[in-house]
Amino acid sequence: MLLTLTATASPALPDATDLGFLLFKHPGRAQRFPSSVGVAHVFWPEATAARSTVALLVEVDPIGLVRGRGGRGSAESSALSQYVNDRPYAASSMLTVALGRVFGTAMTGRCDARPELVGRALDLEISLPALPARGGADLTQRLFAPLGWSVTAAPLPLDPELPDWGDSPYQDVRLAGRLTVATALTQLSVLIPVLDDGKHHWIGDDDVDKLLRSGGDWLPGHPERDLITRRYLGHHRTLVQDASTRFAALDDRPDDQADATPDATPARPLQRLRREAVLAALRAEQASSVVDLGCGEGALLRDLLADSTFSSVIGVDVSHRALAAAGRRLQLDRMPDRQRDRLQLLQSSATYRDDRLTGQDAVVLMEVIEHLDADRLPALSRSVFGAARPRTVLVTTPNAEHNVRYPHLAAGTMRHRDHRFEWTRAEFRSWADDVAAAHGYDVQFSPIGDDDPQVGPPTQMAVFRRSA
């Protein structure tokens, strides 16, 4: 990892080598600082009165990164468990740690030798030869430009010998601007991990404080504040909420915007429409025991539990992680007994017969079938329609015809990268009719969302009723 910071002489800084005083680093020396992420070297490739550059080169220990990790779950941080890892090269939260270790005092805005320099905006240039920018090439621009930097960000190809592969997630970035050294360093320490969008350490309440401390001066009014907050706090809902509330108090934006905490943010309307349609169908079928097969993180479960006519709710998912997340989101440990007794979370799979799912009124397969390879669908229908055999089965799935109404969706591509297929209305009907006939069900279809006269609704639903 490499970062260079250059100061050019100006009326505010007649002698550029004074940058050394601001940074507490002597331009005539090369120093090394061991830190938790590796050894940080600080040295001066140039140091003249006209122009001085300090370089921070961090040698990350790639073996220690994999072997030295504590007992943390490897699932989320799997990138760190790989020896082949961009961490030794790309600017990331590890660079932020090194910045804090090496230039911590400078960031607080202290300068004992030249106190008059502290508050001065200097002509600064920063170079980051491999800065990850996840989420769009223009993100670097959007993050730094509002803070007064002029940004040059050159995308790096993945492999010049394999031009088909296109660009890598990294950019060669140069920032130039007139800011105080402390502000410049602080902004880097916040925005580098935000661009990388992957922190290497556990994120907790401390990080909210740290973000407020570092960004208190410039973040509240930043147009990308929400994105910065979200990413800096590793997308932890409660932390993000906490930080947003505290920023709102520092902010002068109107209340309605400041109150836009994640909870109040409406879910994508289609997801809500789908859940409402499923709930309405379940009520119409007078189902009181319901299996949500493929419940994911439990959005539908929450709605089902909110209605006490659903006396038994079984959330099933093939992913243990998803179930654990559902348990957390539904706050199982704090749920009142009466509600808790109505809910069961089970790990199972739609392609295996599971006797625990028999005898229920309804099974819901909401946006599930398209995540299975088409040749596994017969196994799904055997286990759901053949073995579990509930009175009612609800299946929702995207209507591929509607995709032309999504301008950002390239022709012929699907809505989600894990979708194995997306069906037209005719294809869905043909599958559903066959399944119904084979297993003794009647089936009816209804649209979910805006039923476009040409291409139909975004989501299609089939309601199967057991006839035999």
Binding site: R67, S74, D86, Y89, V318, S348
Partner: protein
């Protein structure tokens, strides 16, 4: 139709020899007697320490006081829980309690029935004086004379009711001499023929079709024996064999008496065994003069029997009444029952066991034809024993979870079918005509003639309990292999969401341990010498080093054609095989896979393997090249990205350090190190680029087979690697574009020159960027003194390892730490996975049910979720 039923009552002792008390081997023995009658002593004398459950002890367990009557209900719960566990495990259990009250005995009879074992009563009806004297001298407790008298009173009133209460065996001992003379004789259950090993010819429902039965017996090689009137009265089996009839000999067909005469003769001569069907059951009731509804063909039998002499009718009644519900044969590997039998009921005796054996599992409902709706118990069957049965006419016998229905509807114009056991060979003869119109339409001839591949079959069905939770898989090579619950939970998602149809997934290759990395002087992390040495120490002299291809491990299942694929593996979507990764994912979409299989099939055909192995399918262990065909995403997102970041940051870093050094700063060895790292980044880039070559569809894709895993009826992993590679070379010759040969070298691990030659060979391979080699025992599957020997050890090249351990791994400070790696777990894992992989092949080859194959395959995937250093 008798169940085990006997009584002993010694009111009049007639001899002084031993008094034998017969007790079924598996039963619940209830001692009955007043305090002081000597129950505990009797139990101790005649039964094992753990066989006896004492109510006193249970009272003590729950209340600290053996005589606390208030604790009796809780104590009985404990006692029945333990008894239940024992009976489930098939262990005789003795209840030591007074049991003088009908209510206490009722609970025990229920306990026995709940576990489908016979309740046995042993009554100690000793004189009052004896009981009183004994209780009076007891130090721990004096129950009082009144209590003893009351108990004896209750007992005496009970004795005659015991049979009615449900005790199938009742023994009463009335004197101290009787007690002293008593010897408990454990008797085999009437269903227990585990010592009969066959081979057997198991014959499905005959229903009075005598001519077809005679024809079938003839086909099976039996010599028919006729009486003076020309009627068949016996059939002599080929040497060593015997017949087993699955019941429903009678009704509907043209000659039920003739069938009975023949089968009864065979049974009497020891040439056959027979279990009863529901039609025999009803016939018995009719012949006994009981009220029965004469329908479903009983009318034909009764009419036909009316023409027979009364002695014959009596013989038929005796024969049918004495038939035992089901038989357990061949060390418990084979169970026969008319309507099948679930595992819990096998070798058990109770009314519901008999009812299941006769009628199957019914839901209590009837269908639109008025016939009982049958619950498909075989779908849930997970027992180890093969179950053969009849009862439900089916056009074509289909194995379902190691069970097979042999009723092919002969009387309805279908066929009469037998299965040769253990050969699993079906033999059948067609019906001469439709003898009886079925209530429910029976599909015949036309579909059957059309050939077996076209038929629709209900695929073997996998249940979540087959894979989830902590599981133990029994393997031939390594005994019991345990899969932890969290490993299974991790694998479920991969298997469900990414793997191909389990019916194609016959085998997952095991992980492979790398070679030991102890030598600190070696510039290489992995060196061939340590692999050769490892095998030498394991007692393996002859090894083969095989080139490690720069691709992805692939398992290729190719069938002769789609019809045979459907017939053998049950997938009817027109596919003729599968090509999958070591985690069970397909390499290509369905169309591309078929193209690849077509090419493989052509080569297999040219090489003449179908005929050579007498098989319709071939399962190959191979490497599919290039790696980018499967792993382009990984190459781009991880390898190329890391290369890009490294190449972007290191040159400016070198320049910056150089500038600082030029200014005279003491940067120490940072400059040299950063330069070397920049070179490492270039070497890393060169290393991954070797794995990328353009493919479009199948253009550029190659297969390097190195082992034939299995063909029909045969697993080949016990053949040496020369044989396997020779076979692979034949495929290469047949299709040199598609197949790629595996370079190899034979090494004698005991000969230093040979080891040196092997090392040179490896170096030549890896110096030009080769991935490395795998060293395997030439003999393939080898057992050494300490058990199974590693089937292969990988020795990877210096440059290739940059892709595993990172661009800079060759730096001395990294290499030293990387050398310290723990191989024990990886080796143990490799062996367990290897054993599971071989096990799944064996199960395929033995045509075991899908869940058994899937169990072993799934276990390999689950073990791969082991939290072992993933890059080791």
């Amino acid at each position: 139709m008798t169940e085990e039923h006997m009584t002993t009552d010694t009111t009049t002792p007639d001899s002084l020899g031993p008094l034998e008390l017969a007790v079924p081997e598996l039963s619940l023995v209830c001692l009955i007697g007043a305090s002081g009658s000597g129950k505990s002593t009797f139990a101790r004398t005649h039964f094992g320490r753990y066989e006896v459950l004492s109510s006193d002890v249970c009272r003590g367990l729950v209340s600290d006081d053996e005589h606390d009557q208030a604790a009796t209900p809780a104590a009985f719960e404990v006692l029945s829980f333990i008894a239940g566990k024992r009976l489930d495990a098939g262990r005789l259990t003795v209840i030591d309690a007074t049991n003088v009250q009908p209510d206490a005995r009722r609970q025990l009879v229920r306990l026995a029935r709940d576990h489908d074992v016979l309740p046995v009563a042993v009554v100690l009806d000793l004189p009052e004086r004896v009981c009183l004297d004994r209780t009076a001298t007891r130090a721990d407790r004096n129950v009082g004379d009144a209590v003893v008298r009351r108990q004896r009173d209750q007992l005496r009133r009970s004795i005659r009711q015991l049979g009615r209460e449900g005790f199938r065996t009742v023994h009463v001992l009335r004197t101290e001499q009787d007690v002293a003379r008593a010897v408990v004789v454990r008797q085999r259950l009437l269903t227990d023929f585990r010592d009969q090993h066959g081979p057997f010819d198991v014959i499905g429902d005959v229903h009075g079709c005598r001519p077809e039965l005679e024809a079938l017996l003839d086909r099976l090689g039996y010599q028919l024996v006729r009486d003076a009137a020309g009627r068949t009265v016996d059939a002599v089996p080929p040497a060593g064999r015997s017949a087993v009839f699955l019941g429903d000999l009678v009704d509907r067909g043209p000659d039920s008496p003739g069938v009975l005469r023949l089968v009864m003769g065979m049974v009497a001569a020891g040439h056959a065994r027979c279990v009863p069907g529901n039609h025999e059951q009803k016939l018995v009731r009719a012949l006994e003069g009981k009220q029965v509804q004469v329908s479903h063909g009983l009318e034909t039998t009764l009419a036909q029997l009316a023409a027979e002499p009364p002695e014959f009718r009596d013989a038929v009644l005796r024969f049918c009444r004495d038939l035992v519900s089901h038989l357990v044969l061949d060390d418990g590997n084979l169970v026969v029952a008319h309507a099948g039998l679930k595992q819990e009921y096998q070798g058990r005796a109770s009314a519901r066991v008999r009812s299941f054996a006769l009628y199957g599992d019914t839901t209590g409902e009837t269908d639109e034809f008025g016939l009982p709706v049958r619950y498909p118990w075989a779908r849930d069957y997970r027992g180890p024993a093969m179950v053969l049965y009849g009862h439900t006419p089916t056009p074509e016998p289909e194995w379902v979870n190691n069970t097979l229905c042999l009723d092919t509807g002969c009387v309805f114009g279908g066929r009469l079918t037998a299965l040769r056991y253990p050969e699993r060979e079906l033999v059948s003869v067609p019906a001469t005509r439709v003898h009886y119109e079925p209530a429910r339409p029976f599909p015949v001839t036309a579909e059957l003639e059309a050939g077996s591949a076209a038929r629709q079959r209900d695929p073997d069905d996998l249940a979540i309990i087959d894979v989830l939770g902590r599981r133990t898989v029994e393997t031939t090579l390594a005994g019991r292999v345990t899969v932890r619950e969290e490993q299974a939970a991790g694998a479920l998602e991969v298997m469900s969401r990414w793997a191909i149809d389990p019916r194609w997934l016959l085998h997952l290759p095991p992980t492979m341990a790398p070679t030991a990395t102890g030598d600190p002087d070696s510039p290489e992390l992995e060196h061939p010498a340590s692999a050769f040495e490892f095998y030498r120490r394991s007692g393996v002299r002859q090894v083969v080093g095989q080139e490690k291809h720069m691709g992805s491990r692939a398992v290729v299942l190719v069938c002769r054609d789609a019809e045979r694929a459907a017939a053998r593996f049950g997938v009817t979507d027109g596919a003729s095989g599968a090509v999958h990764t070591r985690t069970g994912r397909t390499f290509f979409d369905a169309v591309t896979t078929e193209h690849l299989l077509t090419a493989v099939r052509a080569a297999v055909t040219d090489a003449g393997l179908w005929a050579e192995f007498d098989t319709d399918w071939v399962l190959l262990d191979a490497e599919l090249l290039p790696w980018s065909a499967k792993a382009e995403d990984l190459l781009r997102q991880q390898y190329a990205a890391v290369g890009a970041a490294a190449r972007a940051v290191l040159p400016p870093a070198v320049a910056a350090v150089q500038a600082a050094a030029d200014r005279g700063l003491d940067v120490g060895d940072l400059l040299a190190r950063t330069r070397e790292r920049a070179a490492d980044a270039e070497a890393f880039t060169a290393a991954y680029r070797r794995y990328v070559w353009p493919t479009s569809g199948l253009q550029g894709v190659q297969l390097a087979p190195f082992q034939l895993l299995a063909t029909e009826g045969r697993r080949w992993t016990d053949h040496d690697h020369d044989w396997h590679l020779g076979l692979a070379d034949r495929l290469v010759r047949a299709a040199p574009e598609l197949f790629r040969s595996t370079r190899r070298i034979a090494v004698d691990t005991g000969d230093p020159d040979s080891v040196a030659a092997g090392t040179r060979w490896w170096r030549a391979l890896t110096d030009v960027g080769g991935e490395g080699m795998v060293v395997k025992p030439l003999a393939n599957l080898v057992r050494g003194e300490r058990g199974l020997v590693q089937p292969g050890i990988k020795v990877r090249g210096r440059e290739y390892l940059r892709l595993i351990y990172g661009p800079d791994y060759t730096r001395p400070e990294h290499l030293d730490r990387l050398r310290r790696r723990e191989l024990g777990r990886k080796r143990s894992l490799a062996l367990r996975e290897y054993a599971l992989g071989v096990e799944s092949l064996d199960r395929v080859v033995r045509r075991e049910p899908l869940w058994r194959i899937h169990e072993a395959v799934f276990a390999v995937l689950a073990l791969e979720s082991d939290p072992v250093d993933p890059r080791l």
